[in-house]
């Protein structure tokens, strides 16, 4: 199977969906002639032209709102945010309009929009460009939230997100865009709401989403090699809908869980996961559920210090050793 970058996997998914459905178009800052600030849309404007790949001025509230309105009329906009951090000027459009319009109309409308872009720290761009809003967007009933960790997942989930009839917030990671994975060329779809066990194990469940999944896989290798601990790694892939069954199945098998995310701890995604585990698998647990999150401060600019803010394999291992 060919190796493909996370970036190209996304691009292939976008291209396939543009070809698959006349109503799909891409809109965002620098997505067309500039080929995308992170080159996710590189070549798509050349291939598909002005109608399907649209450069927007710097007006996130304006063009996200436009896309919500257009989706109510049956189009399937895929809006790129150069950073998810920029969504914050468009929250009214995302939460009040995309998130609530179906409910407030008693089901008379729906909003098949995808909003995508990177949502991660770790690139020394300061606090305003390093936000990870998956937890608070998943707090909005009406929105769906997806955080792929690999190129394979990014492609399959993106295609599903575009075909989904609800608004999907698709969160990528600039640190992963250049990483390669095996990705089939033939079409495949990954359903939302299905987690993936990325590594089978017996002693502890490491439950994560996004780039933290890769951190967990690295930690699992070290735990196996140096501590004789066999860790299972569960990749949530989609935050809402959430594959609760896979989480509980893993915890019931290993009896221990460490939850890992690059989100902040307070009301982070893992706070919800911890709540579900203690409620539904309490008797299966042999130890408290522990969490590893980003350090609870705004993103530090200074490169060596910012690195310390994000969970690394050692932080995960330290937590695992407390309960194993």
């Amino acid at each position: 199977m060919p190796l493909t970058t996370y970036r190209d996997a996304l691009k292939d998914a976008l291209a396939q969906e543009i070809e698959h459905d006349d109503n799909v178009f891409i809109m965002g800052e620098e997505v067309a002639r500039y080929n995308g600030a992170y080159k996710v849309t590189e070549g798509l404007w050349n291939r598909f032209g002005d109608k399907r790949v649209v450069d927007a001025p710097i007006s996130e509230a304006g063009f996200i709102g436009l896309a919500v309105g257009a989706s109510m009329m049956g189009l399937r906009p895929v809006v790129e945010l150069m950073f998810w951090s920029f969504a914050y000027v468009a929250f009214d459009q995302i939460i009040n309009n995309a998130g609530c319009v179906r409910y407030m109309s008693g089901g008379l409308t729906h909003c098949p929009i995808v909003i995508r872009g990177p949502a991660n720290g770790g690139t020394n761009v300061g606090a305003t460009h390093s936000h990870t809003p998956e937890n608070f967007l998943a707090n909005v009933p009406g929105l769906k939230v997806v955080c792929p960790a690999t190129a394979y997942d990014a492609k399959g989930l993106m295609k599903t997100a575009i075909r989904d009839n609800d608004p999907v917030m698709f969160m990528e990671n600039t640190l992963l865009y250049g990483e390669q994975w095996e990705v089939p060329e033939e079409e495949y779809l990954i359903p939302l709401g299905s987690a993936d066990v990325k590594r089978e194990g017996r002693h502890v469940s490491l439950i994560a989403h996004g780039r933290a999944v890769l951190t967990c896989l690295k930690a699992a290798e070290i735990l196996s090699a140096e501590h004789d601990i066999d860790a299972e790694v569960v990749d949530l892939r989609s935050i809402r809908p959430l594959d609760e069954e896979t989480i509980l199945r893993s915890v019931r098998k290993t009896h221990r869980a460490v939850l890992v995310e690059e989100n902040k701890p307070f009301c982070g995604v893992d706070a919800q996961i911890a709540s579900i585990i203690q409620e539904k698998a309490f008797d299966d647990l042999d130890a408290p559920v522990l969490r590893v999150s980003s350090l609870d401060s705004p993103a530090f600019y200074s490169p060596p210090i910012e690195k310390k803010q994000l969970p690394d394999a050692h932080a995960v291992i330290a937590k695992v050793l407390k309960i194993c």
């Binding site: 178009f25 109608k51 927007a56 001025p57 007006s59 509230a61 304006g62 063009f63 996200i64 709102g65 436009l66 896309a67 919500v68 309105g69 257009a70 989706s71 109510m72 009329m73 049956g74 189009l75 000027v89 009214d92 459009q93 009040n96 309009n97 319009v101 179906r102 409910y103 407030m104 109309s105 008693g106 089901g107 008379l108 409308t109 729906h110 098949p112 009933p141 009406g142 769906k144 599903t160 989904d164 009839n165 609800d166 359903p191 939302l192 709401g193 299905s194 989609s238 809402r240 809908p241 959430l242 594959d243 609760e244 919800q272 409620e279």
Partner: protein, 359 residues
């Protein structure tokens, strides 16, 4: 408010779009305005009796704006507005019953009791709400116009907003995009002179009028006297034509006045403006009274017929309130429907994973 001279108003009556009106159509406009006014008056009565929750923003005084502008629309033209949305809803053809039932929070409401006063919807009538956040609907209206152009459909979107919404950032983003991308959207500023309790001169900086801000975006604009249906139709038609034939946006500012407070719960409704001002508008500038006089003057109507129309509107509103009062409340199981399309339609996607997070 502009006071058109007799010569001016006659000129508006004689433009082709008004010349083409039949007597029946002209009388129908009066009927529609009576229906809106009586609907609002009856809804206020029941609001004060505690039959409704939340807010109730009444359209009384502004009726000619919705009736006049919407009267011009054809099959592929669309409407979206803000929270003072009852008048537009009735003007696009929604029934008083479904609207009143929505106010009462009943299952028979247009939005099944989930939206309330600020969120009336009827996509089958090209009516896209009813939006509660000031200015939040302005990019949505742009998107509706974008979709029309994308699909190659000759149509336009009338996107209404109040004078208080013109200072919201997304409105300006929408104006820039509308002109930059040549989209068939018509922004209609219903200038009732108060954004809640703040008068126009305390909220907005402008040179000629609010609509003239369009010049900064290389967009056409016009200023309209909202007490004259002929003028509303004459000038709005130019913008609709522009959207249909040149795919260009416009801003129309329609001077109007609301007789009640910002909402029925507006405790200061009579403090931030003198009572004489309200009285002056009701006496001299009331769009219903003026249109009625116009039709009498044209020999199309007499007082008795007008009273009958008014009486019928009142009866219809009373009957709608009775319907709403008698209707059942939504069942509790409705809480978890209409959130996700995929769940509602029981698709494979809707069945997979957990969508809701209570016990």
């Amino acid at each position: 408010m502009a006071n058109g001279t007799v010569a001016e108003t006659t000129a508006f009556a004689e433009v082709p779009v008004n010349q083409a009106l039949t007597p029946e159509q002209k009388i129908e406009f009066l009927r529609e305005m009576y229906r809106i006014r009586r609907f609002e008056q009856v809804s206020m009565k029941y609001y004060q009796q505690g039959k409704m929750g939340g807010f109730l923003h009444l359209y009384t005084g502004q009726e000619a704006v919705a009736v006049g502008t919407i009267s011009l629309l054809a099959e592929n033209d669309h409407v979206i507005t803000a929270y003072r949305d009852h008048g537009h809803a009735l003007a696009v053809g929604m029934s008083m019953e479904e609207c009143m039932a929505e106010l009462f929070g009943k299952a028979t409401g247009c939005s099944k009791g989930k939206g309330g006063s600020m969120h009336f919807f009827a996509p089958d009538k090209n009516y896209w709400g009813g939006h509660g956040i000031v200015g939040g609907q302005t990019p949505l209206g742009l998107g509706i116009a974008y979709a029309l152009k994308y699909k190659g459909i000759k149509g336009c979107c009338l996107c209404y907003l109040g004078d208080g919404a013109v200072n919201q950032g997304p409105f300006h983003e929408a104006l820039n995009l509308a002109s930059l991308w040549s989209l068939p959207v018509i922004y209609i500023i219903e200038n009732n002179q108060y954004s809640m309790g703040t008068s126009l001169d305390r909220s907005s900086a402008f040179s000629k009028c609010l609509a003239a801000r369009a010049e900064g975006y290389a967009m056409d604009w016009d200023l309209i006297n909202g007490e004259d249906l002929y003028e509303i139709r004459a000038k709005t038609q130019i913008a609709v034509e522009r959207a249909h034939t040149s795919c260009r946006p416009s801003i129309l500012e329609i001077d109007t006045y609301r007789y009640t407070g910002h909402s029925v719960a507006d405790a200061n409704a009579k403090k931030y403006r003198p009572p004489e001002e309200i009285e002056r508008y009701q006496t001299l500038h009331d769009p219903l009274r003026l249109w009625k006089q116009r039709l009498i003057h044209e020999g199309l109507l007499d007082e008795a017929t007008a009273d009958k129309l008014d009486h019928q509107a009142r009866e219809e509103a009373d009957s709608a309130a009775h319907f709403a009062d008698e209707s059942p409340y939504p069942s509790e199981k409705e809480i978890f429907s209409d959130i996700y399309w995929e769940v509602d339609n029981n698709t494979e996607s809707g069945r997979r994973g957990r969508h809701f997070f209570n016990d």
